[in-house]
């Protein structure tokens, strides 16, 4: 009987075969998630439109009133690396929404009844959303160049700045996966995520230098993960002291992953 071959494959899944099995399942789930993103492009549109509005708003409306003398570059050059981080920070909320939708629709129950790698559900979601984030970031960069953003270092450093932002984004995807799985309801996931991410984005160096903020806020605004990553991306685009910011950003990324990935796995186990 053909069904028996499946049983044998499953039994033999140890060692390298198991790694291949996990990769295969992750790829299948990733494809499924990407297909969903393309067929129902509302998350794409939502995550692109919003940063574009911020680019236009800060470039043309508020930008004139903001003087960034400390950095020695035009405001748009200061702004864009910050916008990259803001884009991925707000965009990662949709991961929580997607995860909660899968819990609510019963998709997670289907996955659980199948002899697949458990880790593939979370891995497939975060990998698909990282791909989405990459596309969005490229589009936002193009918008930046169109409104006058210029790289003051070199192309390699600019690519490095996108990579450091994407690395940070991947950690955030796990944060919001955990949120979505814990809340199990798309609306709640969205409602709960915004108040967490908004202060991190606004009380930060994303739009204005922290030196203009009151002293009680300055400490938080300098060293919180969004600011640190924005500073790292900015240094890579505009020059200046770079390594320290990059290392701090990577430290935050690793720290967040170490805490939130197990948390997401734990909520996944309890989600159904």
């Amino acid at each position: 009987m053909e069904a028996n071959t499946a049983v044998e494959v499953g039994r033999l899944s140890r060692g390298p075969a198991r790694v291949i099995g996990v990769a295969r399942d992750t790829l299948a789930i990733t494809r499924r998630n990407l297909t969903g993103l393309i067929r129902v492009p509302r998350f794409f549109v939502f995550t692109i439109i919003q940063p574009i509005i911020f680019v236009l708003l800060f470039r043309y409306v508020f930008g004139g009133a903001i003087s960034v003398t400390t950095t020695g570059v035009p405001y748009v050059d200061y702004l864009m690396p910050g916008i990259f981080v803001q884009t991925v920070a707000f965009g990662s909320i949709t991961t929580g929404i997607s995860m909660a939708t899968d819990v609510q629709s019963g998709m997670l129950e289907r996955f659980r009844s199948l002899p697949m790698a458990r880790s593939a559900v979370l891995a497939g979601r975060t990998v698909a959303d990282l791909a989405r984030t990459t596309v969005v970031l490229v589009i936002i960069s193009a918008v930046g160049f169109a409104v006058g953003f210029r790289i003051n270092t070199n192309v390699a450093s600019f690519v490095g700045s996108l990579l450091i932002v994407l690395l940070f984004a991947y950690a955030l995807l796990w944060v919001f996966s955990a949120v979505g799985l814990a809340l199990k309801d798309p609306e709640s996931a969205q409602a709960a995520s915004f108040p967490v991410i908004a202060p991190l984005v606004f009380a930060s160096s994303v739009f204005v230098p922290v030196s203009t903020m009151p002293s009680w806020l300055r400490g938080f605004a300098t060293y919180q993960p969004v600011s640190v990553t924005a500073s790292a991306a900015r240094a890579l685009c505009n020059g200046g002291p770079t390594l320290s910011w990059v290392l701090q950003s990577i430290a935050w990324t690793i720290g967040i992953l170490l805490v939130c990935a197990p948390l997401a796995v734990w909520s996944y186990r309890r989600a159904v």
Partner: protein
């Protein structure tokens, strides 16, 4: 197969010792109202959730000790699991097939066979969002079959379907068993359990209140009611005397109406009308009623089932 299964949700007891065994190659009906524990049972058996107590095996694989082994034996359709609304019919089947660890090419060819068998070939390339309820349920059952598992769990597969889609799905389920599958079917409809299952366990408030062959269960429950309304009271009394022997379960005459409880509904009806016709009697009105789930519960437990899906296993309600 299932022994003393228990499950609590916090303080709420969803299952309090459920026992039954499903013989290989048969359809077993798990019949009960919303919140009885049907879906909870299926969710435990399909390894989606863990039982708090008891023991359950699927083809020799303990669902808590060897969930992966059990997963290779089962296919799941109905309320407990879903299909992806954004994927096409074909994509859904291939996805489930691949995650059931069958090679992609095989998944693809089986998916096409199943789409054809379930009359979904024309819709194979359309996202499920565009499917009707009946089409979606058929695809759901197809997804359960893609890995050709020996055991199938169909959790209220026809709830919310119109009569035509329901009948079509019944035919599909019968075919599966002809091909050698073992099916555990949960349903709120006595008629459905009656039409499909060889054995039925009636479940209420997390316990099995009856477990018997369908025929034996129906005999115990009085089964079909035939109601004859005659032209006059005298005619009713004469009719009762003539046809009373056809059905012997709780017969009564009330005014112009003769009411009879029959084990074999259709045969009894033919016999009744034949005898009446030979004696020149013609009912003014004729009614044949199958017992409702409500009546079954009344007969088995002496009380009406709880209303709605607000019971312990409220996930039964979807």
């Amino acid at each position: 197969m299932v022994e003393g299964l228990r499950k609590n949700y916090g303080e709420v007891v969803a299952l309090q010792g459920v026992d039954f065994e499903v013989p290989v190659g048969t359809i077993f009906g798990l019949l009960g109202p919303n919140g009885a524990g049907k879906t909870t049972t299926v969710r435990i058996l399909s390894t989606i959730i863990r039982a708090d107590g008891g023991h359950a095996e699927v083809m020799g694989h303990d669902v808590s000790a060897d969930p992966v082994g059990a997963r290779f034996q089962i296919g799941l359709a109905g309320q407990s699991a879903s299909v992806d609304a954004n994927l096409t019919g074909l994509e859904n089947l291939v996805l489930v097939g691949m995650l059931a660890q069958i090679p992609k090419r095989l998944a693809r060819s089986r998916a096409n066979e199943l789409l054809e068998r379930f009359f979904l070939s024309d819709a194979a390339g359309r996202p499920l969002r565009t499917y009707s309820g009946g089409m979606r349920r058929r695809l759901d059952v197809a997804a359960a079959l893609i890995a050709r598992p020996p055991v199938l769990f169909l959790d209220e597969p026809t709830t919310g379907l119109d009569i035509q889609s329901r009948t079509e799905l019944w035919e599909v389920i019968r075919e599966l068993v002809r091909d050698g599958s073992t099916v555990l079917l949960t349903t709120q409809y006595l008629e459905e359990a009656d039409r499909l299952a060889g054995r039925i366990a009636v479940i209420d408030k997390g316990t099995v209140v009856a477990n018997d062959t369908t025929t034996a269960l129906k005999a115990r429950l009085g089964s079909t009611t035939i109601e004859l309304e005659m032209g006059s009271e005298e005619e009713a009394i004469r009719s009762d005397a003539l046809v009373g022997h056809v059905c012997t379960l709780a017969n009564e005459v009330e005014g112009k109406t003769v009411r009879m409880g029959c084990v074999q509904g259709p045969q009894a009806l033919i016999e009744t009308l034949r005898v009446l016709g030979e004696n020149g009697l013609e009912p003014v009105n004729l009614e044949v009623r199958e017992p409702t789930l409500d009546e079954v519960f009344l007969a088995l437990t002496g009380e009406h089932p709880l209303d709605g899906g607000s019971g312990p296993a409220s996930k039964d309600g979807g």
